[in-house]
């Protein structure tokens, strides 16, 4: 639901009524987004050809472009962690764009979906750091000057904990805001006002997915490289 405003139509609410279940809407929509991705992945992997065409072409452009971007920023070590980031990007993109389909709501407009992804990112980059550096990972928290190490440790700890929080809130705020604007405009002037907004929000939603992806990349880069 967009900020308590009455949504014109939500398919999954009707589905809940029909099935007599009490599964929250955003979970239904997340499942739907996941199944879309599964089906797409299945279709692409069934008919691989040397000369890509159709869906395979699109998938190759997205994934190949992102991989080039990651490798040029992180270095060759980025290839190892690329699948995680790419999955996040595609997943968030699908969930974000789902908010623009009539009858659907973006699951990322709910803070729980975002928190789950942000916590996953947090745990993953720390896991990679510990796996790669062992106990030396703590040097990442110490800063360059030994005398200031205890102070820097606390500051770094706070700034690391704030990362999942800022990831969550940025995505949540942007997507939720867009949903509210769309519902309000739909109430004021159906179709005439919402249609132009679709183009703006399509761009904004892609940017938000990309920002989440890029921040994950920066954090992973921080845990992959040696302590300064």
């Amino acid at each position: 639901m967009a900020g308590g405003l009455p949504h014109p139509l939500l398919i999954m609410t009707e589905l809940n009524h029909a099935l007599g279940t009490h599964i929250p809407n955003h979970v239904w929509y997340t499942w739907f987004g996941m199944s879309v991705l599964f089906v797409l992945g299945f279709i692409v992997s069934r008919r691989l050809s040397l000369v890509p065409g159709g869906v395979q072409n699109l998938a190759e452009i997205i994934i190949g472009g992102l991989e080039d971007f990651v490798v040029s920023n992180v270095g060759e070590g980025g290839r190892k962690v690329f699948p995680f980031m790419c999955t996040l990007f595609v997943y968030i993109l699908v969930l974000n764009l789902m908010g623009l389909v009539p009858g659907f709501d973006a699951p990322t407009a709910n803070v729980n979906t975002n928190a789950a992804m942000a916590v996953c990112t947090f745990l993953y980059y720390n896991y990679i750091g510990i796996k790669l550096h062992g106990a030396g990972y703590i040097k990442h928290f110490m800063g360059p000057i030994p005398a200031l190490a205890p102070l820097m440790f606390i500051i770094e700890l706070v700034s690391h904990i704030s990362r999942p929080l800022s990831l969550t809130l940025r995505l949540f705020g942007n997507i939720r805001g867009e949903e509210i604007v769309l519902v309000l405009l739909f109430m004021l002037a159906p179709l005439v006002s919402t249609l132009p907004m679709y183009f703006l929000f399509m761009l904004a939603k892609v940017i938000q997915a990309f920002i989440f992806f890029m921040l994950t990349m920066i954090y992973l880069k921080g845990s992959l490289e040696e302590a300064h």
């Binding site: 452009i61 997205i62 472009g65 992102l66 971007f69 606390i154 500051i155 770094e156 706070v158 700034s159 904990i161 704030s162 990362r163 929080l165 800022s166 809130l169 940025r170 892609v206 940017i207 990309f210 920002i211 890029m214 921040l215 920066i218």
Partner: protein, 89 residues
């Protein structure tokens, strides 16, 4: 994506600009939260709250500083020619 090909740098910069603000705010609130719960746990109101709020603000500024350093490094890496041109002007 169709526009990811040409202007990756624009996207990159857009992302950087969008992250700075939230980093600053989120760190402050995390510091505040840690202080609040430590105070509740240890019963030392209000000292740890104040101390950790200061740590949170410091962490926020450190985040912003790191971010700016990263942008600057990327700018310089783009090409030495642009920097020299600037100094000549």
């Amino acid at each position: 994506m169709f526009f990811l090909k040409g202007n990756k740098e624009t996207f990159d910069l857009l992302g950087n600009a969008a992250t700075i603000g939230t980093h600053l705010v989120a760190s402050t609130f995390v510091g505040l939260g840690i202080g609040w719960y430590l105070d509740k746990w240890l019963g030392t109101e209000p000292w740890l709250l104040i101390v950790f709020l200061c740590f949170g603000i410091a962490a926020g500024f450190k985040n912003v500083f790191d971010e700016v350093q990263r942008i600057q490094k990327k700018d310089q890496g783009k090409g030495p020619g642009t920097n020299e041109n600037k100094s000549e002007d």
